[in-house]
């Protein structure tokens, strides 16, 4: 008990320290006064901040798994997307090159956000399930687990983008001020994905069937996003891509890496709006099920 005796002063009574206290009230009981969503947010923010060490340690363990599993380690997480780009670029350059200038770069700059999105959704959706050993035994904030999955995917995205930057430059990414859009685009997409993951995680936890439905949904979304194709190439189906919020997130990445242009107002507002909407909706869904996830593992 002496290990942490070098403590800050606290408002304890004369004879003893002030002990931590936790009060759980019935989820079906009417609580007066009802906590507002501002209170909820503040409290969750505080509890997530307190759980930051759990987040950090779980993230580093998952990154280790990701990078250490094979002999080449981190190199594979670079090579895999690179080889995938190469295959796609080779196949599609011959078909689409005439309509899209500098197609390899177009493809690369779209694949970066797309691979992050699908990795985060795949990992985050089953994060409670795959970490159920912890969820069922420890009173850790449930949001920690999707947060870890999204963080792992985000770290990977940043590392891959940084490592591949030489390649981007060689393919024609201009060292223009528009590159500053990249961190903004990443942050917006991370927020969007986190909101989406809170919802998909709830679906998967309640109905395991979604574990099989989500990859199919992602495949469909891939073709509804401007990764390989441009909206105008879809003809009558263009509306699908126009309505897909991911289109605008990808457009931000393209502005930074491909066209070195400033995004228009519509792109900005839909990217920002969809991020806020996804976060709000995801949070709402999460709060509604927060205490029940554990029963469905």
């Amino acid at each position: 008990m002496s290990a942490d005796a070098e403590v800050a002063p606290r408002t304890a009574s004369a004879q003893g320290e002030l002990l931590p206290q936790r009060t759980a009230t019935g989820s079906l009981d009417a609580i007066h006064p009802r906590p507002s969503w501002v209170d909820d947010l503040r409290q969750d923010g505080q509890r997530l901040w307190e759980a930051r060490h759990v987040v950090r340690l779980l993230t580093s363990s998952q990154l280790k798994t990701l990078y250490q599993r094979s002999a080449l380690g981190f190199l594979w997480s670079l090579l895999t997307p690179l080889l995938m780009f190469a295959v796609l670029a080779f196949v599609f350059t011959n078909i689409l090159s005439r309509s899209i200038p500098n197609f390899p770069l177009y493809l690369f700059s779209g694949q970066i956000p797309w691979l992050f999105f699908s990795a985060a959704v795949m990992g985050g959706s089953k994060s409670l399930l795959s970490q159920q050993r912890i969820v069922r035994k420890f009173p850790v904030h449930r949001m920690v687990f999707p947060l870890v999955s999204v963080t792992v995917a985000a770290v990977n995205m940043v590392l891959v983008t940084t490592a591949l930057f030489v390649l981007f430059a060689a393919l024609g990414t201009a060292l223009a001020p528009q590159l500053l859009l990249l961190p903004v685009a990443m942050l917006l997409l991370i927020g969007f994905v986190f909101g989406v993951v809170l919802i998909s995680m709830t679906l998967v936890t309640y109905y395991r069937d979604f574990e099989y439905i989500i990859p199919v949904g992602l495949q469909a979304l891939f073709f509804a996003s401007p990764v390989l194709l441009q909206p105008r190439q879809l003809g009558a189906y263009r509306i699908v891509m126009d309505l897909n919020p991911l289109t605008y997130h990808i457009e931000l990445f393209r502005c930074a890496l491909y066209s070195s242009s400033w995004p228009d107002g519509l792109t900005w507002s839909i990217a920002l709006g969809s991020t806020l909407a996804a976060l709000a909706l995801g949070y709402l869904v999460f709060k509604r099920h927060e205490h029940d996830y554990v029963f469905h593992l």
Partner: protein, 277 residues
């Protein structure tokens, strides 16, 4: 004993300190206490399963014939109060709600009704190895399990040498846990769990795992820890251990407290009721 941040970590580690209650904590916070007031706890069953199936949900939505989920109440209106200094045994048949009670106190389950108030740092010594990660090294696992129990890394790092020493794993500190044997893993988790200065100790059944050489040391450590803890809640099927380790016993049956009193009396009554069956 612990830093202010450490405190708030634990206070916040709870499932959901209710908005109002979290801001203005009630009661005496200088003594460890467990307070359950009018606690109701249910498992919601969807035609015999905990989770509804997608098929059933879709069919019911289309046919507009929603089957009502059936609630299985583990506890209804449960009141339990445990004060600092008490050693409490919990006995009862399988399915009586003993483990659910431990999980409510640990903050893993949230009550459906009523209030669960826990004052003091809780260490649930319940299958702790589940918090360990095979990819991480011994030291990293000490940090991870510590943080899951609400202890900041700097505190755990300071204790790491003692933890590894006790588990006899000093030379394996940096090795990934997947290279450990089962015995090494259970020694490590036991050593971490018993090195975190809990004020409230929750024990579910047998706790000292490991090889023949380790068990006596672990048992000794366990007794030390029980002596140092302010409150011990011990769930067991072994009346012998309950008599040996506790002075008050709760006999729970079908989610109700059948008898609550001095361990000797309650264990005698429980033994008699089993003999009668």
């Amino acid at each position: 004993m612990s830093s202010t941040s450490d405190q708030s970590t634990i206070a916040g580690a709870g499932e959901h300190a209710g908005g109002a209650a979290a801001r203005g904590p009630d009661g005496d916070r200088t003594h460890a206490a467990i307070e359950l007031q009018g606690v109701g706890m249910r498992f919601r069953m969807h035609s015999g399963r905990l989770s509804p199936t997608l098929k059933a949900t879709v069919v019911e939505t289309i046919t507009r014939r929603r089957s009502r989920p059936r609630d299985f109440w583990v506890f209804q209106d449960l009141d339990i109060s445990i004060a600092s200094g008490e050693r409490v045994g919990v006995i009862g048949a399988n399915g009586a709600g003993k483990t659910t009670l431990i999980k409510l106190i640990a903050g893993v389950y949230a009550p459906a009704h009523g209030t669960v108030r826990v004052t003091g740092r809780v260490a649930p010594l319940v299958e702790l190895a589940t918090g360990l990660n095979m990819e991480l090294s011994g030291v990293e696992n000490i940090l991870l399990l510590g943080s899951l129990l609400g202890h900041p890394p700097e505190v755990m790092l300071a204790r790491a040498p003692a933890i590894l020493e006790f588990a006899g794993l000093r030379e394996f500190a940096e090795a990934p846990m997947k290279s450990y044997s089962t015995g090494m893993i259970s020694r490590l988790s036991f050593s971490i769990a018993t090195n975190v200065d809990p004020q409230i100790l929750l024990l579910d059944e047998v706790f000292a795992g490991g090889d023949a050489e380790f068990v006596p040391r672990a048992t000794e450590r366990m007794h030390e820890l029980m002596d140092a803890s302010h409150i011990v809640v011990f769930v067991s099927h072994s009346l012998r251990l309950v008599r040996e380790l506790t002075d008050r016993t709760l006999w729970i049956e079908h989610g109700r407290v059948v008898q609550d009193g001095p361990t000797g009396e309650v264990c005698d009554a429980y033994a008699a009721s089993i003999a009668k069956r």
